[in-house]
């Protein structure tokens, strides 16, 4: 049976993480994860609610060592958690906060440091072991689970690390501003540093001042993992930022001008990662080079019947890409168009079809449609056109909040008498564009 170690082979005293100013060795991290693993239930999935990235990582690796499945929901709304609980009646949660918002059996995760025996040897984990289910919102209202197996995740994150260390000049300490319960943050701020020979940083700095301060506390070389919106506010704050070896951006299109400004002002190469929750990370590019995207590791692309299919590398079953691409060859491509259904705001991903489904299911809403009026702006926010004569903006926002993450709340909501649906009941892109032009262009910046 093919098996891969929980952490890559290395000396026991190499630093794998930094937590609240403490440097954590490989032996200590393994010790923490295995001590927690012994407390975990074996046959029931676990919801990892840890807010600190180091605690989250201990929890995740403890689950992997124990053979326990980690559930990573797309949003922590009551409705979604209740759905998971129904599906898994014995569901437990891991928390480092002490509160228990969902009334689930809870296991507290705390860094114990010297109180747990260090572990010198990483256990071997079967490559086919299912380690996580990462959820996307799906298009019908039911979150869709994407199974992640140990072998595939490991191969993918090692390939990512190899590519990015090459761009950075060597392994880095990785600081992320993005949520690590979502695919991008999970891969690039948790798994890549731990599995690829870098250093995980527990902090998730938020304000520009926090980012600069967190970076300054770390040893070089440093990598910042972020999104276009976080990157722009960091640059706009005009703070002194310590030297960086590389800046990584993903989740939304990055304008060339912002990429050039970031490289100029931060003095570091800016790379983008291309991937999806379904497929994992597929390719990267240095934005300013204007070169095509290059696939990671041995991933290959081919086109058939208008669909682009990825295989090789970590991909177990040849899988379609969400986007429209132009192949240069099997390893290089240009992105022609993003799939218009998937949207990503501040590192959180959803589907317009799902959001529309939620909106039109609200009591009092006769019809409604979400749209993204400025998809190429890093300030992009959703708007919604709604037919709901009895409701006010606040009623709709209030009702939406229990179903969707706040970053997807529409701003503005425009009330209309009816929506321009065609004979098949669809609102075409042209019709939607006309609505946007009529109602939004004057009001928007």
């Amino acid at each position: 049976m093919n098996a891969l170690p929980l952490l890559p082979d290395a000396s026991s005293d190499i630093i794998v993480a930094v937590h609240k100013g403490r440097l954590i060795t490989r032996a200590e991290f393994l010790g923490e994860a295995l001590a927690l693993a012994a407390q975990l239930p074996a046959h029931t999935p676990v919801l990892n609610l840890c807010a600190d990235r180091y605690h989250f990582a201990i929890g995740l690796f403890a689950c992997i060592a124990r053979g326990t499945l980690s559930l990573l929901p797309n949003a922590l709304t009551r409705e979604i958690i209740a759905g998971l609980h129904r599906q898994h009646p014995a569901l437990h949660c891991l928390s480092d906060q002490g509160d228990n918002p969902f009334d689930l059996p809870m296991i507290i995760v705390q860094a114990q440091g010297a109180q747990v025996p260090p572990c010198l040897e990483a256990p071997l984990i079967p490559a086919e072991q299912l380690v996580a289910q990462v959820f996307t919102s799906g298009s019908t209202g039911t979150p869709q689970a994407h199974a992640k197996r140990w072998g595939s995740l490991t191969i993918n994150c090692i390939a990512e690390a190899q590519r990015l260390w090459e761009g950075a000049g060597g392994p880095c300490t990785v600081v992320g501003t993005v949520p690590f319960q979502h695919m991008y943050g999970l891969e690039s701020t948790v798994l890549m540093p731990l599995l690829g020979g870098g250093v995980l940083c527990a902090q998730r700095p938020f304000y520009p001042g926090d980012i600069a301060e967190t970076l300054a506390e770390l040893l070089e070389p440093r990598m910042l993992v972020t999104t276009p919106v976080h990157l722009r506010t960091l640059l706009d704050a005009e703070l002194p930022v310590p030297p960086l070896a590389l800046v990584l951006s993903a989740t939304a299109p990055l304008a060339d001008a912002l990429a050039e400004r970031a490289e100029r002002e931060l003095g570091a190469p800016l790379h983008e990662i291309y991937g999806a929750t379904e497929t994992g990370q597929l390719a990267s590019r240095r934005t300013c080079s204007r070169e095509p995207w290059r696939t990671l590791g041995t991933i290959r692309l081919r086109q058939a019947d208008g669909v682009t299919l990825a295989s090789g590398g970590h991909i177990e079953v040849e899988s379609p890409l969400n986007d429209i691409v132009e192949l240069v060859d099997a390893h290089n491509f240009r992105l022609v168009g993003r799939n218009s259904d998937m949207i990503n705001i501040g590192g959180k991903r959803s589907s317009l079809a799902f959001l529309n489904h939620i909106l039109t299911s609200l009591p009092g809403v006769r019809d409604g449609v979400f749209c993204l009026p400025d998809p190429d702006s890093e300030k992009a926010r959703l708007a919604a056109f709604v037919v709901a004569p009895q409701l006010a903006t606040e009623d709709i926002l209030q009702a939406l909040r229990s179903h969707i993450d706040a970053v997807f709340l529409p701003r503005p909501i425009i009330f209309v008498d009816s929506l321009p649906r065609n004979s098949t009941g669809k609102i075409t892109q042209d019709a939607l564009q006309t609505l946007i032009t009529t109602h939004l262009r004057n009001a928007q910046h």
Partner: protein, 97 residues
């Protein structure tokens, strides 16, 4: 590095109004600054309903206008955004201009 809410700063209705106008203009909100109540939450499920991306935008304007950087120990730590009043008090305590 949590910054505890300061009780030292006196209430300053004029600053509260100035901050309300700043928020509305920074975020292109469709409410009038006068409609933002002093005690109503700015962030989260009630009140103005700002989210984390809004908070980043507002923080940027605050840093330019009042000359200090906001700090949080986690993305969930938005206590100073619990109301217009607490934000205005935080600004009054930390402003350098």
């Amino acid at each position: 590095m949590t910054q505890l809410e300061s009780s030292a700063a006196p209430l300053d209705p004029a600053l509260e109004r100035e901050v309300a106008e700043m928020i509305v203009s920074a975020l292109n909100l469709e409410v009038s600054p006068e409609a933002i109540a002093s005690e109503a939450p700015l962030f989260g499920d009630e009140g103005l309903g700002l989210d984390s991306i809004d908070i980043l935008e507002v923080a940027l304007v605050i840093s330019k206008r009042y000359g200090f950087q906001l700090k949080a120990d986690s993305e969930d730590n938005f206590h100073i955004f619990s109301s217009l009043r607490s934000l205005a008090q935080h600004i009054a305590t930390h402003r350098t201009k």
